[in-house]
Amino acid sequence: MSLATLLLLADGRLPSGGHAHSGGLEPQISAGRVRDVTGLEGFLHGKLATSGLVAAAFAAATCADVRRCGELDAGMDARTPSPALRKASRAQGRALLRAGRAMWPVSPHTGREPHQPVALGALAAAAGLQPLEAAVAAAHGVTTGTASAGVRLLGLDPYAVHALLARLAPVCDRIAAQAADRCGDAVDDLPAAGAPLLDIGAEHHATWEVRLFAS
């Protein structure tokens, strides 16, 4: 494994369009549920335990065996009831693959527009990384992308937000370890933790005419 390669895959500057998404934060700010760093912390703990765990598990499972891309992609569909979130996940998957194909030889099993965690797992495999590393990159991406959206949407103190991210780092490690432990499970047995307000918020967000983030 190459630590530098993992850092590259998890880097927010990877040109994969991730900065265009708030991870579901924008609608919750609009609904008045997140107003400050404390609200962001509660949001991120819940997001990590739900969609973060699912993303980490599916990235790890794809990385462990890229021939499973098709069934894992269908498994993400079944865990993503919001059509707005399915669309956002596939858009991010496609953008990530585009960047990744320029970097590493990505498996042809991946398809054109997979869910983002499947794309991430396929890239991790192509880069020679292990399932646990794919899971860490997924969990890390869930927190950092959302946190930077919080800085932009609420004008939060970036130092306070990074202090929050430092507190969440061990949580990301724990979630990733849980996810990687289960990476060989049958698709129905993989984590499926849902977050009702993320789903409902995404559907509200999709109806807005003006928004800062795509999702």
């Binding site: 549920r33 819940g46 079944a78 009702p196 307000l197």
Partner: protein, 246 residues
Amino acid sequence: MRAEARVVAEADGRGGTRLAVLRGESPLLLRQTGPRSGTATVHLVGGAAGPLRGDELRLDITVGPGAALDMLSVAAQLALPGRAAPASRMTVTASVADGGVLRWMPEPLIAAAGSDHIVETRVTVEAGGTVLWRDDLVCGRHGEDSGDVHTDVIIGYAGTTVYRHELTAGPRAPGWSGAAVLGEGRAVGTIVVAGPGVSATAGVMGADAAVMPLAGPAYLVTAVGADSRRVKDALDPYCSRALVAA
């Protein structure tokens, strides 16, 4: 306490449904209610307090070809702490054959403070069958903290999993009362409808409810609210028999 209950609904050959099996034991007692023609209706009647920690309950529902069954309950199910023991567990399985229709619409599950309860739901619908599956959850009785509760649902249609969802709430669940999961909401309800040609247009109802077409021939209605009344108001209109009529 361990208890098992079983319902088997079959077409009676005259356009109605008969219950070939209707068997339960306390606290999972089953009673057939309503008229004996057309759709069969069964109420779940709580025969004891609980579930309490350590309880293992199981309900199996089978709806045969051309049969129609409505499953309801007479009162909310209240998960309680009881003695120090592992989590209480309720397992519900349902299978619906081609041409069968099942509506599962029980009263809410309430996770009282100190309870530790797991609900596992496995629904299998053959191509041509229809299901409406509703689950309402209330996190704590009025003015009290939530117990620990974990729900784990798989709904499959024509051999494909169309809905796979777990929800964990209560003091042991990180971030469950944060703005991603339930926020200030203490009640949440879902309806999944799956069947031949089932479709819906995505839409929102008020701030905290939405209709979501799933990737398969199915849709989900989800509502979060301060209490079960808000969730009931949002979801009840989506339970009508017309929605599942073949």
